[in-house]
Amino acid sequence: MTLNFAVLALLDGIAYASLLFLVAVGLTLIFGVLGILNIAHGSLYAIGAYVAATLGQWLVANGYNPWLTFPALFAGATIVGIVLGGLLERLLLQRIYAKDEILQLLVTFAVFMILENLQRMIWGVQPYFMSTPLNLLGNVSFFGINYTAYQVLFLPAAAIVVLFALRHFLRHTSMGAQILAVTEDREAATSIGINATRVYFMTFVIGACFAALGGALATPTTSLVTGMGANMIVLSFAVAATAGLGQIEGAAISALMIGIARAFAVYLSPELEVIMPYLIMVLVLLIKPNGLFGKVTARKI
């Protein structure tokens, strides 16, 4: 089984990596642009999941066509991203862009705590789940091993779409350019007519949507429990840092590295599974202190 176990591990790794990427990419985006390491990203992820699940369960319970749960996932994510993300940015983050980044970080941490608590108050502590989409897509099998099509086909596809869409947005649209400009120097950007406030808002909402989307797409594969956000956020931190900040493609690659390494660990030495992401991060940063694709900062003197 030596050869095909490698293939299996690869498949598992890719499936896992896709989800990881979907979550981490939003984080990377927000950091790359707003320079804020958004810890609340974790709660957005969790809440996205809960909302999607609730929506899906409701659809199923009221006898709608189960295939509707797919759009429900995306709908849930978008709602959370726009409403919650939007509110956060407008009411809170906007006041702190000028402040020291440590303060910004802490604000998001505070938000994280608040949302964790609210989330418990709203959805309680019983594990939630909504696996309809997973069941609908059924299984595919390799070497006589069953995989859920949702995990090995749908998720990777979604990840790839997101990757290229985002790439295009940042590289080839005016909005993308404005985003990059504002990040570097708000005043200078304003002085050439860029509406920094709007750019920040947009970016944060987009990032938030991705966080929520990650959660929503994770819903069918897992049970939603309190504290799921906390676990995910560290992982996506690891991905973001390994990638180099604001590096969309980097995030994809490091997600793959981590996902696959983790899978192999499960096969070869399960004890390493948990620390794999961190080992990888340390190794990468050892060789490239600014992450895989991290840029050296502009000339100073």
């Binding site: 790794g13 309680g124 502590v125 696996s131 069953n146 897992t222 309190t226 799921m228 599974e273 948990v274």
Partner: protein, 410 residues
């Protein structure tokens, strides 16, 4: 001592964090019981007052609150706790503060085996019988298995339970090969890799002592990918997930309940107390009680029993905490299951219920069939003996011969 205005009870339980799947139902149970008792005038005329502490809030808070309750609020008895880690801490603290403490739900057998306590008691079994019973059941139900794999949460319970299980298995069935020992992170959201590997290994038996969201996720992913068709599952804590998992938990899975806890307990289901509690609980939470609720009921049963006993012993006078502590030893009490008794090491002897899942009309989730009820004492290390050492002395056919009474779903 003279009667207090109210009998204050401090209860540590999870209201945040993943373990609140046990904590919250238990808390509901506690509140139901307190109401009941107070409705009939309290314990020997003294009404109960409950104080809850969230185990999820971290040890500092837990300790501060605990001390405050005992030293400032004047709490007389404490129930601590769900997590073995917290038990480890609270036991010595209770001993220090000289307050009677019931370990009402935590599993680890070490505490009372390693140290001697005057004020710390456990009103339920410990990990040893809770893990040996399912093994005994497995050995009897389908003896001819050659390979086994374990998927446990990566924390003390997951490790300890496997240590007990595997040690016993080694002696009972030296021929059985352990093909994989997987310990995914506590609270892991995804087990697909584990599932793939298990599919590749095709072990005859898959054991998992996981609980809560972890267990649910694992079962769903395994079910979806047809792992249940190729392997026999043994899930010693699955009783607490039955209602959540619904049809995602297939038939023919061996499930346990950390004691003889089951809302259709074959010996108790017709008893008045049992029925009324179940109804009240269902009315309050919309669900049937799970084992953590039952453990809470036992703690309260012990509480009432011990005060009656101590008051009698004290000639009708309200007892001092020393007298209460004394009365605990040899105390007999009954919760929702078979009667229990506290041994001189403070450990209760609790029966164990194991069975196999089955689909029956009237329930939109799997019920337990082919039940075996084991008497606690047979599966428990004698007083003063260390569980692992005791297990090491098993005869090869010990477990398959352990007496038990069989029931099937009615």
């Amino acid at each position: 001592a003279d009667k207090p205005a109210e009998l204050k009870i401090g209860i540590t339980t999870y209201s945040s964090g993943s373990a609140s799947v046990f904590g919250v139902p238990a808390r509901h149970a506690a509140e139901i019981l307190a109401e009941e008792i107070n409705a009939k005038g309290g314990v020997n005329g003294v009404p109960l007052k409950l104080y809850f502490i969230d185990e999820g809030a971290g040890l500092e808070t837990l300790m501060t609150e605990y001390r405050r309750l005992v030293e400032d609020e004047g709490v007389e008895v404490t129930f601590a706790s769900i997590s073995s880690g917290v038990c480890n801490k609270m036991a010595p603290l209770a001993e220090d503060l000289e307050v009677v403490n019931f370990m009402w739900d935590c599993g680890t057998q070490r505490i009372l085996e390693d140290d001697k306590y005057d004020y710390v008691f456990r009103t339920q079994a410990n990990a040893t019988p809770e893990v040996l019973a399912p093994l005994a059941y497995l050995l009897k139900a389908n003896p001819d298995f050659k390979t086994i794999a374990v998927v446990n949460q990566d924390y003390a319970w997951g490790r300890d339970s496997w240590e007990i299980f595997s040690n016993a298995l080694k002696i009972q069935r030296p021929d059985v090969k352990v093909v994989a020992e997987l310990f995914p992170a506590f609270g892991a959201a995804d087990f697909s890799t584990e599932v793939s590997r298990l599919q590749a290994l095709k072990p005859d038996v898959i054991l998992s002592t996981s609980w809560g969201g972890d267990l649910d996720t694992f079962v769903r992913q395994a079910k979806q990918r047809g792992l249940f068709e190729t392997s026999k599952f043994v899930l010693p804590l699955a009783e607490s997930s039955l209602q959540r998992l619904g049809d995602d938990l297939p038939e023919g899975v061996i499930v346990g309940a950390r004691g003889d806890h089951y809302f259709l307990h074959p010996e108790m289901r017709d008893k008045e107390k049992f029925k009324t509690f179940n109804e009240k609980f269902k009315a309050r939470t919309g669900e049937y009680p799970i084992y953590s609720a039952a453990h809470m009921v036992q703690a309260f049963a012990a509480l009432e029993a011990v005060y009656d006993k101590a008051i009698k012993a004290n000639g009708g006078e309200w007892p001092t905490k020393e007298q209460v502590a004394e009365a605990m030893v040899g105390l007999e009490f009954q919760g929702l299951g078979r009667p229990l008794v506290i041994r001189e090491d403070g450990q209760a002897v609790e029966a164990q219920l194991v069975g196999t899942t089955a689909k029956r009309d009237g329930y939109n989730f799997k019920v337990i069939d082919k039940m075996e009820l084991y008497d606690g004492k047979d599966l428990m290390a004698p007083v003063g003996e260390n569980s692992l050492k005791w297990i090491a002395k098993f005869k090869p056919d010990f477990l398959s011969k352990v007496p038990s009474t069989s029931f099937s779903h009615k």
